[in-house]
């Protein structure tokens, strides 16, 4: 029997996808792995960096703190998110749309804005702290581990909320009624029936919040003080002018990636057989709670989302305050905006241009790869799909370090160009786009394309004429969400930027570090506004609201 190799447009796409991922993912990351295994002084192979991580106290603490931040952020986000999801799907809450909007605001505002706003409120000279101390209540300033974990919890709970409310809303009510008729108390039912059924959603959101928490750089940097985590250590060791230690920075990066991967495989292991399918017959109903219970439930739900959205609100309010240097003055003014426009408008343009170019590339590549994954299964596409998992577990800092190491010398001397920032964002966000296209394609039966082919269209034309129009809303919504994340990308850009390629998140971060809170607030507000517009457009296009965010 002879095997026929048939070349069509998709063969070409498959090869191109592999080339892109090897060039922008495997090759740069291999440099990090290599650097971590080489002694800085002798240039010989050595495990010295890993030995140091295991023996030197500061590094041990960084590993411990990273785990603490990861599990702390994850636990906090799960508690808040699952509670909110349960309350809003099982009880009648007034203003559910408002709750969802506030959750989305919390979700799309960059995490370091949150950290900075919390400092404004609860920092050493925080507004709330000062206000409370003037009436005789003294609370400690919100720095260190507690601050980091709180910020993570309130920043990442919307992910949990959106993922689990979808799952909670699709449990067949008859199953819960059956448990009730068998004499199981409501509380016991929650833990023996409801939660096991939504375990896939809970564990998926736990994984996501853990990985986001340990990869986050801005929050521990701004609010952590001496709470060092792997991401900040790696950045310091890589970035410092004196005493830089690229080998150590690389080894810390590898440890960070390994931690993420352990959690990813852990989640798969938990889910290895705990996936249940039930045909939905009766949708769960929302109960009308009465009296104190109703008041309590409303207070709980609104408290969670308002605290979550508070940083964004604070930033907007403070951007209109009069400032003198780092100090906020009483009164309203547009001075901060004037200063942004007159002195630091470059980051705005850079951000818009870089994000637009990256998103255009992401959409085209992501759509083609997503199509390959869902429609052309095989070994080459299967490994491609697995490889696309890598960017999920590689923190932005690490990606930045990898890029700057690999693209530093001719003919690929890209450091200091806008292109390298664009490439980093591109490869970090490509998997999201590819995955969402693959998911959208599952809704479009493959027979539609076969039908077009049988009517006389070539496979390429059939894809363009039939499939693309059908998945276009999904592609556009995904593109806008990629645009949002691209605009808010801090960690990789922070490693890769130079003066002329500075972006808004980097500028905001630097302003916060320099204590220019007015500029930071104004820039953050502009970034937030652009983000909200993009999110609104994505919602509008996708029709189903929350799904656009996941």
């Amino acid at each position: 029997m002879r095997r026929r190799l048939r070349f069509d447009i998709w063969t070409f796409v498959l090869i191109a996808a592999w080339v892109i991922l090897i060039a922008l993912l495997i090759w740069p990351l291999s440099s990090v792995l290599r650097a971590s295994l080489i002694d800085n002084d002798t240039g010989a192979f050595s495990l010295v960096h890993y030995v140091q991580i295991a023996t030197i106290k500061a590094y041990q603490r960084a590993v411990g703190n990273t785990l603490l931040a990861g599990f702390g952020g994850m636990t906090g986000a799960l508690l808040l998110g699952v509670t909110l999801a349960f309350v809003t799907t099982r009880f009648h809450i007034y203003g559910r749309a408002l709750i969802q909007t506030l959750a989305v605001v919390a979700l799309v505002s960059p995490p370091f804005i949150g950290a900075y706003a919390w400092i404004v409120l609860f920092g050493a000279s925080g507004v709330v702290r000062k206000g409370l101390s003037s009436v005789g209540i003294s609370i400690p300033p919100l720095y260190g581990a507690v601050g980091v974990i709180l910020v993570f919890a309130f920043k990442f709970f919307p992910h949990v909320f959106l993922i689990t409310s979808g799952a909670l809303a699709s449990i067949n009510r008859s199953v819960e009624e059956a448990a009730e008729s068998l004499g199981v108390s409501p509380m016991k039912r929650l833990f023996t029936i409801t939660f096991p059924l939504i375990l896939p959603a809970i564990s998926a959101s736990a994984l996501l919040t853990f990985v986001l928490s340990i990869a986050d750089f801005g929050t521990p940097r701004i609010i952590g003080r001496d709470f060092n985590v792997l991401a900040t250590e790696a950045f310091n060791l890589y970035g410092s002018e004196v005493g830089g230690n690229p080998g150590m920075a690389s080894a810390l990066s590898i440890v960070l990636i390994v931690l993420s991967m352990i959690i990813v495989f852990g989640q798969r292991w938990i889910l290895r057989k705990n996936v249940y399918h039930s045909n939905l017959i009766k949708k769960p109903e929302r109960q009308h709670a009465r009296g104190f219970k109703a008041v309590g439930l409303h207070a709980l739900a609104y408290a969670i989302v308002i605290v979550g959205a508070l940083p964004a609100i604070i930033v907007v309010l403070f951007s209109f305050r009069r400032t003198s240097g780092p100090v906020f003055q009483p009164g309203i003014s547009l001075r901060s905006y004037e200063r942004v426009v007159s002195t630091v408008s470059e980051p705005i343009w850079n951000t818009l241009i870089f994000s637009s170019v990256a998103v255009a590339a992401i959409v085209i590549t992501g759509t083609l790869i997503g199509y390959l994954i869902s429609r052309r299964p095989g070994i080459a596409t299967g490994t491609l799909d697995a490889l696309l998992m890598v960017p999920y577990v590689v923190p932005g800092i690490v990606m930045g370090i990898a890029f700057i190491t690999r693209f530093n010398e001719p003919p690929l001397a890209l450091t200091g160009t806008g292109l390298i920032i664009i490439m980093a964002v591109f490869v970090r966000r490509l998997p999201y786009s590819a995955r969402s296209v693959a998911a959208a394609l599952k809704q479009v039966g493959p027979n539609l394309e076969d039908a077009a082919v049988s009517l006389g269209y070539s496979p390429g034309k059939a894809f363009l004429k039939v499939t693309v129009p059908l998945i276009l809303p999904g592609i556009m919504a995904g593109a806008l969400m990629s645009f949002v994340t691209a605009m808010n990308e801090l960690s990789s850009s922070l490693v890769l930027y130079v003066g002329s390629t500075i972006t808004m998140p980097v500028r905001i971060y630097l302003s916060v570090m320099d204590g220019e809170y007015g500029t930071a607030s104004a820039l953050s507000t502009i970034l937030l506004t652009m983000t909200v517009i993009a999110v609104y457009a994505a919602f509008h296009l996708s029709g189903r609201k929350e799904s656009a965010l996941l």
Binding site: G445, L448, D450, V453, L455, A462, K465, L470
Partner: protein, 358 residues
Amino acid sequence: MADLKIQGLAKSYKDVRVLESIDLHIASGEFFTLLGPSGCGKTTLLRTIAGFQHQDRGEIIVAGERIDHKPAHKRDIGMVFQDYAVFPHLSVADNVAFGLKARALPKAEIAERVAESLKMVRLDGYQDRLPAEMSGGQQQRIGLARAMAIRPTLLLMDEPLSNLDAKLRIELREDIRDIQRRLGITTIYVTHDQEEALAVSDRICVMNKGNVEQIGTPYEIYRKPMRRFAASFVGTMNFLPGQLEGGRLLVGSQVIDYPAQASGPVEVAIRPENVELAAASSRGGVISLKGEVLKVTFLGREAHYTLKTEAGEIVAQVADPAQDFIEMEGRPVEVRLPLQKIVLFRPSGDVLDAERAR
């Protein structure tokens, strides 16, 4: 008008042989059905003819021309899908015009053919609707009109009715048959529903495990099964163990003369409607077995009797049963199998004597 010849077509997925050297000749204008259980290779065969899958060996020849090297979109073969595959973003008229636009026909002709095709499937007046506003039956009519509008050389239908409810299924299958007769288009129809196959086909090809079991007219398939598989898959068939010895057939404790040269174990097959109960008179020889009525299922115009006989359990069907026939559970009864109606199968699954099978 075109005939279709398939020669030595074979296909494997990894180690599984889905099609084992298929040979078929379908006459021009014929309504030809591929019938078999899921996984028998019928859909793979259809999709290979359409060009969506590729054979490892063999030839596909339409009207004397080999088409198996052509890509699917150049084969000029109309296809109707199980899940309709109607383009949800296009109106009914645009769906039907879709294939015509690929052929760059003049606008006026496209409009004319769209109108004609929609009229044919009784959807005139629905041009501007979107498919989502229409029922499953209507959507499949769009699929049919769309495939016919390009005036294909062959029409392939992949279980087109299996997603519809029983009543619509019968209505639409009559329409499909009428349209096919009127236009005389060579049609290959895939189904796992034996009743549907019997109702619409000129000829049926019963397939199992990638092999052709039997090809014949619906009457031949039902009344003269050549293979045990075809006999058991199409309609209901009782099988009783028997033994041939020197021109005599042994069933249970009964021995009856049976003019056959062969000897050895056989299976005696008979349709439920041919099993006679008690006093019914029949001409010619019968195998008469002692039995007991285990269960009676009353279905209105007929009743099914599950009978325990000395040779094994069988089902008998009685048309228009009388009252006292229904209250027979637990009673002994004489079960008679007319020799003219029985078919014998060898342990290999082949029919024993083609001449006697009727």
